[in-house]
């Protein structure tokens, strides 16, 4: 099929950036979206132009490195699917597709479609862990975890840290990302000792990074490729309230 791509091009962080149209023929419906961009880039290199920079790595939907706002939706039109797993059979011959980076103050653009998400790492640094230095662990069977709790903790822990939730949120809030980690660790016995300090510090760091506040619009969970539920945000808010009132 033949496509028209409108791609955000921005030389570096200081550049203002603009949408640039490209015509691309010979797109196979079996290509993944990123393989389609590979084809574009091969062509650009041979034409002596600068290829489009985009983040990607595992290309199997788990590393969280790929991004892209495709036709206005983070990770594109297919639900519960990262950009790297989106295939061109979901598009039509002759389509015009717009491709933009994540847009958020806390995710500054580095080049073209590549953004800086190190703010997510700093939120984890603020408390997204259990303090368990190597060697200090009791026998694994000494800590039973109710099956349902392990199940819910796992669901929250499947967050891949891609940042689609932020890109979709009208406030560019990192609430779903933060809540996923707070929920994962807060549901497990191992996470209890630091539970309330964790939520307080992580939310403070989220604010310090310039992410917006949460107004429960739910766009985050709608685009989340791993389907992290909105309920995690309720858990975060409950823990935050408890942390504030326990003094």
């Amino acid at each position: 099929m033949k496509l028209t791509l409108k791609v955000w091009r921005q030389k570096d962080a200081a550049d203002k950036g603009r949408m640039v149209p490209y015509e691309l023929g010979d797109v196979s419906p079996d290509m993944s979206f990123l393989e389609m961009l590979d084809v574009l880039n091969e062509k650009l290199i041979l034409d002596g132009e600068d290829p489009v920079a985009f983040d990607h790595d595992c290309r199997e939907g788990i590393c969280g490195m790929c991004s892209l706002v495709i036709d206005g939706t983070p990770h594109g039109p297919q639900q519960a699917t990262t950009t790297c797993q989106l295939h061109m059979r979901h598009f039509e011959d002759g389509d015009v597709i717009t491709i933009e980076p994540w847009r958020a103050a806390a995710f500054p653009v580095i080049k073209d479609l590549v953004v800086d998400r190190s703010s997510f790492d700093r939120i984890i640094q603020a408390g997204g862990y259990v303090s368990a230095p190597t060697g200090s662990a009791p026998d694994a069977a000494a800590i039973p975890v109710p099956r349902a709790d392990a199940h819910d903790a796992f669901d929250a822990a499947t967050c891949i840290g891609c940042g689609a939730c932020v890109a979709a949120c009208p406030n560019a809030s990192a609430m779903l990302f933060t809540a996923a980690k707070v929920t994962h660790l807060g549901l497990l016995p191992q996470g209890q000792p630091e539970r309330y300090d964790r939520v307080t510090s992580m939310v403070a760091q989220m604010d310090a990074e310039g992410f917006g506040g949460c107004t429960n619009t739910g766009e985050c969970t709608a685009v989340c490729p791993k389907g992290i539920p909105l309920e995690t945000i309720s858990r975060l808010n409950a823990d935050l309230l408890r942390a504030a009132t326990r003094g």
């Binding site: 393989e35 790595d57 997510f120 662990a137």
Partner: protein, 646 residues
């Protein structure tokens, strides 16, 4: 063959203590020097890579009080490719009371590796396996649980006990996030300095000792030098030499290859694992291959049409015109033969012209019988997420059409040679995880990669490195030291060279061609003739690369084409060594199948008399043939037998 390599002095591991195998790790820990806590903060360690091995090592070294610099090429340490591991992690916990033990895990691993791994190392791996599960649970890794709240386990290929701990189909992700969180905790504590979007491009060696690295800041292009008292490489495997593999796109050999060029021996480069159940290539544009969990072979039946050139839809081919070749060839193991056997059988039927799908490179994995026997719901419960993943990629529904699968490169058992301390032949350079060669011999068992990465990073390296660091701190090295200046200019010269060729082919086009060549001649089946052909062609292609590659842009920016080109240049050199290694090892063993060495019924035939050794290769200088150093493998605790799955 003499023109292709020369043979040097044998090599041996000097670090594993003598005596009963179960006492060696204790003895080594007691015999090694310690560094007192107050002195640790004067000692610095560089760790390259943040997967299970590198992430856990950097976190643990930080907790111990060393000053750590951690490097990864991704935008966050959480993205390392360990994250994609699906199945699980082995540990000799014997929670099932089903007869498991350290001895049994040790035995299974040595046998699974087709008797080409070092006994002392594998025994230690089995010993620390139980501690890994304890550590990960303490960190909050959400392993699967039974109703009573205790840990669940499952069985995995090639073993008869249930020792595999798992977190649905995302065990690697959950273990990596555990290590990542421990690492970020140390970053917050100031013990670890993190360098993301940084790529190691050279090793700095001073007076024969590893003292640092040259790294490129992939955002600004700045070439940085970092020095320390020791360097740890945890940069993963080299499966991407085949272009198409289950590795992440960025996985590369540059860190270990640069160290090899500086004197670290590279062991068993030809040992690659080819996984039988991957989604086949759909066209020329294919950029990577996706694994479908091995567990599917429990209920799926593998078949191809009886006759070549049969283009009917699978549903239109009657039972008596199908060949369930694994069930036919291996009646006792059937569809559950080990990875290497299943992969080769698929290649054989496709070579006979009986493959299915585009290009005839695929075989059916059919669930129709299981759906009839168990019901659609039961099959969906077991494999639903895998079926969805398959449909997302291929657009076909495995409930109605059989899956098409084909083998793909998945893991590399070879890597830099290390001793029992995980130290390479360059003092001060340690190598852990998939980047070293140590534990899997010629074939890795399922769920053992995660075990080895975390064993090395959490428990082995942090103990053995202290014996080395106790001699420090070494004299400080300034940026103006001649070895540092030389390493830096080697990097800048190479980048300038890549940028200045300005040819007419893209880096990827060379990589694809190299990969196809390696797959053809150094993939599932290798022959003397094919490997020689490959070596000649690799040399030509490498010359074409250096005169014909087109790398756009400049160094002083985010330049992904430049990153690729540098990695491909190193893959070319590795590819040649892989072929030489495969050519010299005229036996078949594990993942290495030489057509000339097979039993009358076509199975791999080992030659223990001539090849019970580790092939450790020395880099003698550009254009010179590599030098082979043999480490003899002695088996005192397991008896060597020929594997059979008939």
């Amino acid at each position: 063959m003499n023109e292709l390599f020369t043979e040097g002095a044998p090599i041996r591991d000097e670090r594993a203590p003598d005596g009963p195998i179960e006492e060696r790790w204790d003895k080594r820990r007691f015999g090694g020097k310690l560094v007192n806590p107050a002195n640790r903060r004067k000692l610095s360690v560089i760790v390259v890579g943040t997967g299970l091995a590198g992430g856990s090592a950097a976190a643990t070294l930080g907790e111990l009080g060393y000053r750590v610099k951690s490097f990864c090429y991704q935008d966050s340490p959480r993205r390392a490719h360990s994250i994609a591991a699906q199945g699980g992690i082995n540990a000799a916990k014997n929670y099932r009371n089903d007869g498991d033990s350290i001895q049994r895990l040790f035995y299974d691993t040595v046998k699974g590796g087709d008797y080409r791994s070092r006994e002392s190392n594998v025994y230690r791996l089995a010993q620390v396996s139980a501690e890994i599960i304890d550590q990960c649970v303490a960190q909050g890794v959400p392993f699967a649980r039974e109703y009573g709240g205790l840990l669940d386990t499952r069985s995995f290929g090639g073993v008869q006990v249930s020792r595999t701990f798992y977190a649905r189909g995302q065990t690697g992700q959950q273990l990596l996030l555990g290590a990542y969180q421990a690492l970020e905790r140390q970053v917050a504590a100031g013990a670890v300095e993190m360098f993301t979007r940084h790529e190691m491009l050279e090793l700095i060696v001073i007076d024969g000792v590893a003292r640092g690295i040259v790294a490129r800041d992939m955002v600004t292009g700045e070439i940085e030098t970092h020095t320390a008292d020791a360097v740890v490489l945890a940069s993963g495997g080299y499966g991407n030499v085949f272009f198409l593999s289950t590795n992440a796109k960025g996985c590369n050999v540059t860190a270990t290859w640069r160290a090899h060029r500086k004197g670290a021996l590279f062991a068993n480069p030809c040992y690659t694992q080819i996984h039988p159940t991957c989604i086949p290539q759909s066209g020329e544009h294919q950029s990577k291959l996706t694994l479908m969990s091995e567990s599917l072979r429990n209920d799926g039946r593998v078949w191809v049409p009886l006759d070549g050139g049969d283009t009917r839809a699978p549903g239109d081919i009657p039972e008596d015109e199908r060949d369930y070749y694994l069930e036919r060839l291996y009646p006792s193991f059937g569809n559950l033969v080990p990875r290497d056997v299943a992969s080769r059988a698929a290649k054989n039927v496709c070579d006979e012209g009986r493959g299915v799908g585009p290009g005839g490179l695929g075989v059916y994995l059919d669930f129709a019988e299981a759906i009839t026997r168990l019901g659609r719901d039961a099959v969906a419960e077991k494999y639903g997420n895998l079926f969805e993943m398959y449909e997302r990629i291929t657009g076909e529904d495995p409930f109605t059409v059989p899956m098409r699968i084909y083998p793909a490169v998945h893991y590399t058992m070879g890597g830099l040679w290390v001793d029992y301390d995980l130290q390479s032949t360059i003092p001060g350079l340690f190598v852990i995880g998939e980047a070293n060669f140590s534990d899997h011999g010629a074939n890795r068992l399922g769920a053992s990669a995660l075990m080895q990465g975390l064993a090395d990073g959490y428990f082995v390296l942090p103990n053995t490195i202290s014996d080395y660091l106790a001699r420090g701190p070494l004299p400080k090295v300034g940026d103006d030291h001649e070895a540092v200046v030389a390493a830096r200019s080697a990097v800048t010269d190479r980048i300038e060279r890549l940028l200045s060729v300005d040819g007419d082919r893209t880096p990827d086009s060379f990589h694809r061609e190299l990969g196809a060549l390696m797959w053809e001649y150094c993939g599932m089946e290798r022959t003397d003739e094919g490997l020689r052909k490959a070596i000649d062609r690799i040399r030509e292609l490498r010359a074409e690369f250096w005169s014909g590659v087109k790398v756009p842009g400049e160094n002083e920016e985010l330049n992904q084409a430049l990153e690729k080109a540098g990695r491909i240049a190193d893959f070319f050199e590795l590819a040649e060594l892989m072929c030489v290694d495969a050519l010299h090892r005229t036996e078949s063993c594990g993942g290495h199948f030489r057509a000339e060495s097979q039993t009358p019924d076509g199975e791999a035939l080992r030659d223990d008399e001539h090849f019970a050794y580790v092939a450790a290769w020395e880099y003698p200088g550009a254009g010179e043939p590599p030098v082979l150093h043999k480490e003899n493998l002695e088996y005192e605790n397991v008896k060597m037998v020929q594997r059979s799955y008939k």
